[in-house]
């Protein structure tokens, strides 16, 4: 009797829980199919639409892999540039996180500070980087420091907006509870506002992580002194019409963006996945 019950519950569990294979298939098959479609289209454009003399516009994928990734010299040059850009992105992102948190916390503590600071943050975010390139080079030179500054300017805004939104997201009743029990400002921040802010904070971090990679590459385009980043490589290969190397650098840049986005997704799942209602953090 007992065994029958156990069997029944086991089969019920297996019915209600999709198998691992089924889950992996559901997760990976759609992007794989789309990826295969894109590769097919890529080949069609390279060989079907472009004549040989114009094929440098879109080299076929096997040629990109061959020249861009399997050629030792090209590979080590690209990876070195990628590492340089990664460093810039990480330093820029760290500064943006620190600065963004401090400003958002300050704004969450006093309405007049929010009114004072927020318009300038919106303005900073709205300034086209191209317009302030000369100023940045006057103040910070034309090397890595300026690339980091560009990175910070691009990555800062989503962190501030999301952190502030998160800090203000705790419900009125929860604040009343803390008021009733005489919680001071610091306790309220630590035990209520900051944990409540975490889902929004991570949403901001994921956006800013991607933007920091873009910032590092954009910064590279304008401030090329010192060790070359991936942006410099893109510029160089574009000027020389090196289609394969150019596409290899684009793929590496995208991979870096996806990697940082994914890392923050994993951290988000670890930090809030267990309790957050939506449980929608994907890694």
């Amino acid at each position: 009797m007992n065994t029958t019950k156990q069997k029944r519950s086991a089969s019920a569990a297996s019915l209600s829980q999709p198998s691992k294979i089924h889950r992996y298939t559901a997760a990976f098959l759609p992007p794989l199919i789309l990826g295969a479609g894109v590769i097919g289209l890529w080949y069609y454009i390279s060989f079907g639409l472009l004549e040989e003399k114009r094929r440098f516009l879109l080299r076929p994928i096997h040629s990109v892999i061959d020249v861009g990734f399997l050629d030792g010299d090209n590979r080590s040059e690209s990876l070195k540039a990628l590492w340089s850009s990664t460093e810039v992105a990480l330093i820029g992102l760290s500064i943006a996180i620190g600065l963004g948190f401090v400003l958002a916390i300050l704004m969450s503590q006093a309405k007049f500070l929010e009114r004072a600071i927020f318009p300038y943050m919106v303005t900073l975010q709205a300034i086209p980087i191209l317009a302030i390139v000369p100023l940045i080079s006057f103040w910070f030179g034309t090397g890595q420091r300026s690339r980091v500054v560009v990175c910070v300017i691009i990555a800062l805004f989503p962190i501030i907006v999301n952190t502030l939104f998160g800090l203000q997201s705790a419900e009125r009743g929860m604040h009343d509870l803390f008021t009733l029990h005489h919680a001071n400002r610091f306790t309220r921040l630590r035990k209520l506002m900051f944990p409540a802010a975490l889902p929004a904070v991570f949403a901001g971090l994921r956006i800013s992580a991607g933007l920091s990679v873009i910032g590092a590459i954009v910064g590279d385009f304008f401030f090329g002194k010192g060790e070359a980043g991936i942006g410099q490589m893109l510029k160089k290969h574009a000027n020389r019409l090196n289609g394969e190397e150019l596409l290899a650098c684009v793929i590496l840049s995208s991979a870096l963006g996806v990697l940082v986005f994914w890392i923050f997704g994993v951290i988000q799942n670890k930090a809030v996945g267990r309790w957050h209602e939506s449980n929608s953090a994907t890694s």
Binding site: E171, G173, L177, H182, K191
Partner: protein, 250 residues
Amino acid sequence: MNKDLNTSASLSFDDIGMIFPDGTEALQNITFDLSRGEFVTIVGPSGCGKSTLLKIASGLLEPTNGSVEVDRERLGYVFQDATLLPWRTVSKNVELLAELHGTDAQERKRLVQESIELVGLEGFENHYPKSLSGGMKMRCSLARSLTLKPPVFLFDEPFGAVDEITREHLNEETQQLFKQEGFAGLFITHSISEAVFMSTKVLVMSARPGRIVAEFEIPFEYPRKPDLRFDADFAEMCGKVSVELRGSHS
């Protein structure tokens, strides 16, 4: 209503009046006392100022007239929503108020265990609020306040959002807690049967501005059994309160 001078009162309202900055007069001449071992429920039409009175009692709002006497150091307050912190497990939520009051870790652990047992949430200590039913969330909220051993417990229509059967169970458990812990309870509700089932006294409030227009002593012995709800005397008492409540709307 004349104030019945009671020197042992745990909670005392003296001529409370409340006018909001927009000019809305919410409360007028509210005067009554509440002592340990008393469970008073206020019923009244929506928007008559019942919740405002509770907020004044707790210190969340300052009255524009009159005064309140109550020890706010260990005040139990159950909100309309359970107000559980979603990132804390049941036991961590129950521990919160003791934490805010600076109770040491060992004593906190004991209080949490005791309170969880009192509300029947054993086995759910490590669950997060998102996996609890509405009734369990309210039990958790009750347990959180119980860790303070509050001499006065304020309930702001806490069971309004749960289904009828769960609400009846929670009513029975709350009146058992009241008898066991002996606190002074002030309860707000729209449900007349809930008010009569749990209380030693029911106060009827008028439409805005809220005033106390009637008072009923509820004579039934504690502990009150679920069957009491089918008793003729219970129905008669509910009828009396209902008639006054209908009158207070006009």
